[in-house]
Symmetry: C2
Subunit: 394 residues, 2 copies
């Protein structure tokens, strides 16, 4: 499935500048500088700036392989096209919440887009204690608008199915299928956890009822093409400031269950909240509550105002759909919490805690929360009940 | 979405014979005869025979439009490719239960396949009182094998998603979305029913809880890509005899919920059973029971022997999947019963009953059965409970 055509060539600072000059973005004769600011694991990220005008843009190029924990494996370049197209499609509905896309090139697998380097990656900011007052309202709106407008509730079925084909994304979905929905529930070599967690982890591997619910959630991820998801909406995929929020990196985009995007974001807020105390904790807890509140009210308004489904006014249908999304989201959040603690890819919110006893304690707590969210997801009627459950494990 | 390329040309008896001669199927110099045996609504069907050897084959060509109740509308020729590819894909798993495909042509939208004219369309045979002793065992096996083997339980996710794209079938799916899942539940111009049913039909249109459940089933049809369905598995899509069963016409094939194929077949058996009495009725009732029995036991065996899902041995997962398929199937069967009674496309089993009072009475009964199956589908634990419900309405 990996495409490395002969015409693919990694960009350099020089060729990135030449590319930027060709775009009519900077004024003619501007002296451009290039800086590669990517982490080099999956993509090159060139920041091109004109020191004089202060203007800048980003050129992101996919690498034909992924480096994770030292290993390297081939990874489709098609993800660059998926990412650019998802940014453009979602941008139709929330232009203020995603970077503008200026140019794309499928063969070279690059996307030229708005420079957002005046913002901070939300995860980093949250770890350093930021509150980002607009975060949950913006992400709630982002979720509702992108997901509603790409669903069967808003699109003609021909267009929805055309998009589902366009965004078929088997390789990146498989990463999620393995790393979120499978490996953490089995004694698998990709798992990664401190020896102190061995007992807790083995309890997961031996927890039949938990695994049954995880299997159902995996099935939903594999089969339910409800809307065009971001597919990887953790706090590391969000740029934020006091006044702005921008969602980036939708290379995992595909048609999947709406609750997945919602749940991933909620889980990453939970993983941050548990590391905090007092007022600062409350701020994140309020984000958890508000994300669902804004999502569900915005989704509900869109349903009423823009819904095209013949059954849209059938009593109870909207409520059924929102309840399904909620239950799915809570279950997916549980899977995300577990895999971020014992799977291949961790979060700095937890791993960055230096005091070992506290880190291990919090991780155990996060594992318990994850398990409870998965198993009890149909018995948690409100976001307040979810928050109560999170606090109970404290 | 409709493709009528310049190179498309309707076949004639002459060009069909020329095509047959080019295939190395008949012996050289054989004197071939052609007879167009299609009903002319959707496709041409040429039967080419060599009177001397008795050999024959079928050339089926899609027409670039559909004629239904006098109206004509454009319809994608791509359905010929979908049909041929579905026959071939399903044929990998049940070669004995589908016609062999000898040749296909995408531009001319034709498929050359095994001549099955020694068999009878099952609906016709059943209406004339046949029992077809092998019917349910064969269809149960057909359903289990085609659906299991094209699902995530048996396929690598790359292959499953490749097939889901290949079989994207928006135009034909829309026919189902409209005619089975939408129009019959609303006062829509495509509906067609005797004035004596007006009260019963209006009761459906005003039945909120029924419509809510129909909306959920429609959502499942729109979003759940579980397996490569036949997509139109009524008794008119099956050739049968005392000793043989062949499933034809999968032009509605797409990745959808497994229960849809199961439910459509069950509904058509129910619509036949209610027209019968005594022993003859019992024979069809036993087919209903046996279809589910054979389907579920075969699916279960395949799960154990060929399943690749990591959670396959997780306690309760197989049972959950089979229960979901069963509940879906019962709900879809209910929708099929309703639309076959008051929607655009009826069944001869009911429409062919000449005595008006009996016909209307049975149709009212079928409507009630359909409604009950939809609303109670989660409270019917076994196929015996479904049969009891069918008999209750009698």
């Amino acid at each position: 499935m990996t495409t490395t055509t002969q015409s693919y060539k990694a960009l350099t600072d020089e060729s990135a500048i030449a590319l930027a000059e060709s775009l009519n973005f900077f004024s003619q004769g501007a002296k451009l500088e290039s800086q590669e600011i990517g982490d080099g694991n999956l993509n090159y990220v060139f920041k091109i700036t004109d020191g004089e005008s202060g203007k800048g843009l980003i050129i992101k190029q996919a690498l034909p392989y992924a480096k994770v924990v030292g290993e390297s494996w081939p990874l489709t370049l098609k993800r660059a096209t998926i990412e650019a197209n998802a940014l453009k499609k979602h941008g139709e509905f929330v232009p203020e919440l995603v970077p503008a896309v200026y140019a794309t090139n499928e063969e070279l697998a690059f996307t030229v887009m708005e420079d957002l380097s005046h913002l901070t990656i939300a995860r980093e900011g949250l770890i350093s204690g930021e509150a980002y007052p607009k975060l949950s309202a913006d992400i709630g709106k982002y979720l509702a608008k992108t997901l509603f407008h790409t669903s069967d509730f808003a699109l003609h079925p021909f267009e929805k199915k055309r998009l589902a084909v366009e965004f078929s994304n088997p390789e990146l979905c498989k990463i999620t299928e393995d790393l979120i929905f499978t490996d953490p529930f089995f004694d698998h070599e990709t798992n990664d956890f401190e020896p102190e967690l061995q007992t807790a982890v083995e309890a997961i591997w031996n927890n039949g009822p938990l695994k049954l619910e995880a299997a159902k959630l995996k099935k939903s991820f594999l089969t339910e093409a409800e809307a065009l998801l971001h597919g990887d909406l953790h706090t590391g995929s969000i740029f934020a400031s006091e006044t702005e929020t921008k969602v980036i990196d939708p290379e995992f985009a595909f048609y999947g269950p709406i609750g997945f995007d919602v749940g991933l974001f909620l889980a990453n807020l939970i993983a941050q909240a548990v590391t905090r105390e007092g007022e600062k904790r409350e701020a994140v807890i309020r984000h958890i509550e508000n994300t669902w509140k804004v999502f569900s009210s915005t989704f509900s308004e869109l349903w009423e105002e823009k819904g095209i489904e013949a059954f849209k006014d059938t009593k109870g249908y909207k409520e059924f759909v929102l309840e399904k999304i909620f239950q799915d989201a809570i279950g997916f959040a549980g899977c995300e919490l577990i895999r971020r603690t014992i799977g291949l890819a961790h979060v700095k919110d937890l791993d960055g805690i230096e005091e070992p006893e506290r880190r291990i304690g919090l991780k155990k707590q996060v594992l318990q929360t994850g398990e409870a969210l998965i198993v009890k997801r149909k018995d948690l009627p409100t976001i307040a009940a979810v928050i109560a459950l999170v606090e109970e494990q404290n």
